[in-house]
């Protein structure tokens, strides 16, 4: 008995000893936008930093199967669509036919992804971040076990224990499945599969009228698919201002997208090369049968903590599975911080990046900062939609008196020279102080322009402050200036 006990103890301690052991000041689990930015910042602040990522490539969902590949498809599909439908107007005659080369279309997207993910690895090398390829999980409160991942090129060859003074969890999120619908990533796809469809579907039905669904719908509509968006809510665009959401819907409808709002999906089943979908009107209960060549399930994302062994150390979640933290990103252990999609707040890459920086600054200096009232959102359809700050609905709900300033792009010189005049800029200001409260843009370059609104919000600028800053002519940003002018006085060019 004693002998076997001794043997067992010796064996288990030998096993632990056999696992490689390393020490770092901070270990970050997850190499997505939150994780890799946190790692680089931590290294820049002089901390011995390690980052663990199991995907095999850095950049997380955003770089690999999210923001970046979708923007590549959106840009190139828009170019294709413009060449097919809009070139004659601009004095460009195309001899012959404009044809999509789907293989090259996908290759162009994959090349960008590879370049950017490789670029992040270079940044790790430049900043001396130790990069462990493997599955990171809690061994105890102060160490992370990195397990080898089978088939992963460059994976740690054996279990490695990383002892850390500080740990940052940045494990991100995954696709939320829809009950009863089997995703095969061929005909019934998530956003990941939608980025790599093997053919352009003739009929493309999308479950979910949020940003991901609408962006993918835009891509395939431009490439020739008949797109139908099925949305449970009575409006599209989730957290968009109502006026902007309805204007967006009008523009997308004009582009050929069909909308079934206030409609739920009862079932979706693949039968060979076709997906049979049953939908039901939420109010009337009337059912309808639809058929698609591809069906995208885009009902949102959910926090990802599988494989983290969070339960080993007793970490807690809320009812939506988000790791619970305080305002310093601390979990129940002050030295274990959590950032990004796996915890509270909007699931946006730039929000995760800001949190990554703030979390690391808390570790190094005891202070950090993220302004959650100033996180912009962008939808990269055409026209683009971008917003930051409060919507009219939120201001009404809060009982805040406000004024509106609006300026259409049809009155903007640059938009006219570009023959791209759909949309407007809408500014919301406090009725008394005229301080900027919210900015909503639908139109060309909205995603870039919203940064000016963010800066103005951060500085507590008034509409007059913005309007009295010289904006270059002719630029689209003049529309932003004019909207602010309209908010507190009168616009000059409309």
């Amino acid at each position: 008995m004693l002998r076997s006990f001794v043997t067992k103890r010796t064996f288990s301690s030998s096993a632990a000893w056999l696992a490689a052991k390393k020490q770092h000041d901070v270990v970050i689990i997850g190499g997505g936008p939150g994780g890799y930015i946190a790692a680089i910042k931590a290294a820049q602040l002089g901390l011995d930093t390690a980052c663990v990522e199991k995907r095999g490539r850095l950049g997380g969902t955003c770089l690999n199967v999210g923001c970046i590949p979708s923007k590549a498809l959106l840009n190139n599909s828009q170019m294709y669509h413009q060449m097919k439908t809009d070139s004659k107007n601009r004095g460009i005659d195309i001899k012959g036919e404009v044809v999509l080369n789907l293989e090259q279309f996908q290759k162009a997207k994959d090349t960008v992804v590879k370049q950017l993910t490789g670029g992040v690895e270079m940044l790790f090398k430049k900043n001396k971040v130790t990069y462990y390829k493997g599955l990171g999980a809690f061994e105890n409160e102060n160490s992370i076990k990195v397990k080898p991942v089978e088939g992963l090129d460059g994976s740690v060859s054996k279990e490695t224990i990383l002892e850390a003074k500080n740990i940052v969890v940045a494990t991100g999120s995954e696709v939320t499945p829809f009950p009863g619908i089997k995703i095969d990533e061929e005909r019934i796809v998530s956003s990941t599969g939608a980025l790599s469809l093997k053919e352009i579907p003739k009929r493309f039905i999308i479950l979910g009228g949020g940003i991901i669904g609408l962006e993918m719908g835009s891509v395939y509509s431009r490439l020739g698919s008949k797109v139908t968006v099925v949305e449970f809510q009575p409006k599209i665009g989730a957290s968009m201002d109502d006026e902007v959401a309805s204007t967006t819907q009008k523009f997308l409808k004009k582009q050929g997208l069909d909308f079934k709002l206030g409609t739920k999906v009862v079932s979706a089943e693949r039968n060979g090369d076709v997906v049979n979908i049953i939908v039901e009107d939420v109010k009337s209960g009337k059912q309808d049968k639809l058929e698609a060549d591809a069906f995208l399930v885009a009902v949102g994302r959910r926090p990802y903590i599988q494989g983290l062994d969070a339960e080993k150390i007793g970490l807690e979640v809320d009812k939506r599975g988000r790791l619970v933290i305080d305002d310093q990103f601390n979990s129940k252990f002050p030295h274990i911080k959590v950032i990004g999609d796996v915890t509270f707040g909007p699931m946006l890459a730039h929000k995760a990046e800001e949190e990554g920086i703030a979390a690391v600054e808390y570790i190094k200096n005891g202070v950090g900062h993220v302004n959650y009232n100033n996180i912009p959102s962008v939808m990269y359809s055409h026209p683009e939609v971008a917003w930051v700050g409060k919507t009219e609905e939120q201001l009404k709900e809060a009982g805040i008196n406000y004024k509106v300033g609006k300026f259409p792009f049809i009155a903007n010189s640059r938009a006219k020279t570009n023959l791209d005049t759909e949309g407007f800029v809408k500014i919301l200001i406090d009725s008394e102080t005229e301080r900027l409260l919210g900015a909503h843009i639908i139109g060309p370059n909205a995603g870039e322009m919203i940064a000016e609104a963010g800066l103005a919000l951060e500085y507590g600028a008034s509409a007059e402050d913005i309007a009295r800053v010289c904006h270059a002519h002719p630029t689209l940003s003049e529309a932003f200036k004019e909207a602010n002018l309209a908010a507190f006085d009168k616009p000059l060019n409309f």
């Binding site: 060979g272 007793g314 807690e316 809320d318 619970v324 500085y459």
Partner: protein, 121 residues
């Protein structure tokens, strides 16, 4: 000789008041404050949190399920392969060919009445 831009900048009074210089952060107070995006001010270690292990027990992970067509799903069971062969000694091809002792007896009228009446009292 200073350039015009520098001379003009020196005479201009900005309308927006900028503080300038590096940010001076106020140290965080020694109290635990809920995250601004937490629902209902949820804090770690509070009674409304759910242990991660408990949450994961009822959690269905996202899985990609490869499509198999109906013809693929009906797998022939190789254990029971039918081979046509002639009858051997003592074998019959149908139950009706067996002696009455081994055949299924139909339910009699009395038995039917008994069952319809609810069985034994």
């Amino acid at each position: 000789m200073r350039s015009t831009c520098v001379r003009l900048a020196q005479h201009y009074t900005p309308m927006i008041r900028f503080i300038g210089g590096r940010h001076h952060h106020t140290p965080h107070l020694n109290e635990i404050v809920p995250h601004p995006c937490a629902e209902n001010g949820l804090l770690p270690n509070s009674k409304d949190t759910i242990p991660a292990g408990e949450f994961l027990k009822s959690f269905r992970p996202f899985k990609v399920i490869p499509y198999r067509s109906r013809s693929e799903t009906i797998q022939p069971d190789n254990r029971y392969k039918f081979h046509q062969r002639p009858l051997q000694e003592g074998e019959k091809s149908h139950a009706y060919e067996l002696s009455p002792r081994f055949q299924f007896k139909g339910i009699s009228e009395d038995e039917m009445e008994f069952i319809n009446g609810g069985g034994a009292l």
